[in-house]
Symmetry: C2
Subunit: 387 residues, 2 copies
């Protein structure tokens, strides 16, 4: 049971696209940001929080879920949706990124990637086929192929070898996908991942290899892994020009508000990143007025001033900057949740606004307005994702 | 501006009392449990959570709030109510308990208690008068006198000397209360604290000294500080028999569900304890079926079973035992909040049910039914409060 023809493009503004993904658990307006729900939970939030944010699609991490709670439990639960009480669409990654982040704990073979668990050192093998099976147990709406994610600065020879391996793995994953049966009665999509590092010719080669087969969507991988912002932009721009227009394009692990808005301008439709959630836990918040250090002593007396006057999230509706600063200052756990709620709502409002602007063909203007308060400071923002 | 005549007793069942406290920020049905909002926040919760639990009155800690965010900020905010976005009644402690927990960091004098901050070692002096001023800055509905809280097993001579000092401090606090003016336009009550350790004659002496003056309510202090359960029961029972019936009685820092229900049977009206919140963060939950270890591997497959089938909290409405176990197992922060929500709701439902049972004169039966699943295991529960 395959799933194809899931994407409809309604309008463009420049190369930015406004569309809809039709998935088994619901429709997703694009461009969209997917909050990261690593371990069957968006860190610090509950299911109601996630829903109230206006979340349209969540991301789950196969590697973490495979280890805990494990596939037996997830199968018995009926998959990730009932287990985590999230009724909407879910995209799961292949676990490849986490496995390749393990460094010495993993070994690459033609068959797949062998690794030791970061939890207990136990040995495991991820193959293109087993990773489809894992994502069948999770029951996600969109599955990702197992790919090798090489370092951002790897040389051309390595990048070529790697993208060819990933393309062979994509074909094997596709066979497993088309040859198998979903577990919970709903179809699942599978996306291949374009690799090739920062070399445009290699990116073209990767697209050429992958797109010999038809797919319901396609991802751009291997970015936001240590390369420069300029390289990331260059590669995204190039892929955005060459990828087929009828497929939804997912830029993996990206990024800052600037990254997201600029990538939308290059024709990207889907995003995920730990930036809003991880930064929230540390006290760095994103607002319509720019970056905000929630711990800053200068906010200690900002009574009756919401964190972001343009935001409608629980945090902005409930507390003022003075109280939020106090919570971060004394290190209450609740600060991390309140910050997470706000940051995710900011990212969601950002992409919802982008969609509306595209529909009204004023995307460039929208992007400029949103990014004005962010300035150049963010160009070097650290966003290396960790395990 | 004083506040008196705040308590109305509607009914009794045995010695258990059902009443109402009339406070500036609202009515409080008694018996009542007060969730602890140490640092202008119930740990892990937001203001909506607190309200949805059915909280009727919160407890705030003067010592912690005095240090952070500090009185200047709290005065500018207009007190604790607007600062923490809690519109209902608040009781604040005097900070005495925390100061006496500081051990070597504090020095007792007739004038007051000198101490060094546990945060930065800075020197401070709490006097009966300054502690009233602190609580005026907090704007609580009920303030507590500064008292000395001696160790649970101290000898009779020390206990006598200590309760006499606390009684002198009560009188000084009362003068400061009656001679001063609230800061935010609403009256505040002040409760004295009965001390005397585990010696019944000394408890009588303490009550005799304190109750020469009229007060709006009275607290029983110096329990749940290391003495045996039997001693705690004996002292509570004795005080419950001797305290004037027209005053609300607050048993400080107590306790387990058993402690609370048994103390209600002895005529106590108000309780606070960190037990439900602290235990929730560690994974020990209270349910209508008894204590529950949320981390237990045996719950890993308890799909579609709510934590407590009789509970209506967000946690029980949303998740099953399997998911909750997973969240605790992988140590998601959200587990701490979900557990806190449930435990506090359990404690509140416990006292709300007690009130109803008293009104229907079937309190003994209610207590027996609630405690049946708890058995004897809890008699030795550690509940020593920490700083």
């Amino acid at each position: 049971m395959e799933l194809s023809g899931i994407f409809t493009c309604h309008a463009t503004s420049g190369r930015a696209r406004a569309g809809t993904l039709q998935l088994p658990h619901g429709q997703v307006p694009t461009p969209i940001f997917m909050p990261v729900g690593t371990r069957a939970s968006v860190k610090t939030l509950d299911a109601r929080d996630v829903e109230e944010l206006g979340t349209r699609i969540l991301l789950g991490n196969s590697y973490h879920l495979y280890l805990r709670p494990g596939l037996d439990i997830l199968r018995e639960a009926g998959g990730l949706h009932p287990f985590m009480r999230w009724p909407g669409p879910i995209l799961t990654d292949s676990g490849g990124f986490q496995v390749f982040s393990l460094g010495d704990l993993r070994k690459l073979k033609e068959e797949g990637a062998e690794f030791r668990s970061h939890l207990d050192g136990s040995r495991h093998l991820f193959t293109p086929e087993s990773v489809v099976d894992i994502q069948r147990a999770l029951g996600s709406d969109i599955m990702m192929q197992l790919d090798e994610c090489p370092p951002g600065q790897c040389d051309e020879a390595y990048a070529l070898q790697s993208l060819e391996l990933s393309a062979r793995w994509a074909r094997r994953a596709r066979e497993a996908w088309l040859g198998g049966t979903p577990l919970y009665g709903h179809a699942q999509a599978l996306f291949p991942i374009v690799q090739g590092g920062t070399h445009l010719a290699l990116r073209e080669r990767s697209m050429e290899l992958l797109l010999r087969d038809p797919w319901p969507g396609v991802a751009i991988g291997g970015l936001s892994v240590g390369e420069s912002k300029a390289d990331m932009r260059r590669v995204t721009d190039h892929c955005g020009r060459l990828l087929p227009t009828d497929l939804p394009r997912y830029l993996m692990g990206v990024g800052t508000p600037e990254d997201i808005l600029e990538s939308i301008a290059m024709g990207v439709d889907m995003f995920d990143c730990v930036l809003p959630t991880r930064n929230a836990r540390k006290g760095t918040l994103f607002t319509s007025e720019g970056r905000y250090n929630a711990r800053g002593a200068r906010h200690a007396r900002s009574f009756n001033q919401p964190l972001d006057p343009e935001c409608d999230c629980l945090t902005c509706r409930t507390y003022d900057r003075a109280h939020l600063r106090h919570l971060y200052h004394v290190e209450e756990f609740s600060a991390m949740r309140l910050g997470t709620i706000h940051n995710l709502r900011y990212f969601l409002r950002l992409v919802f606004g982008a969609r509306q602007a595209i529909l009204e063909d004023r995307y460039a203007e929208y992007m400029e307005k949103c990014l004005a308060p962010y300035g150049a400071a963010s160009a070097n923002e650290a966003q290396a994702p960790a395990l």
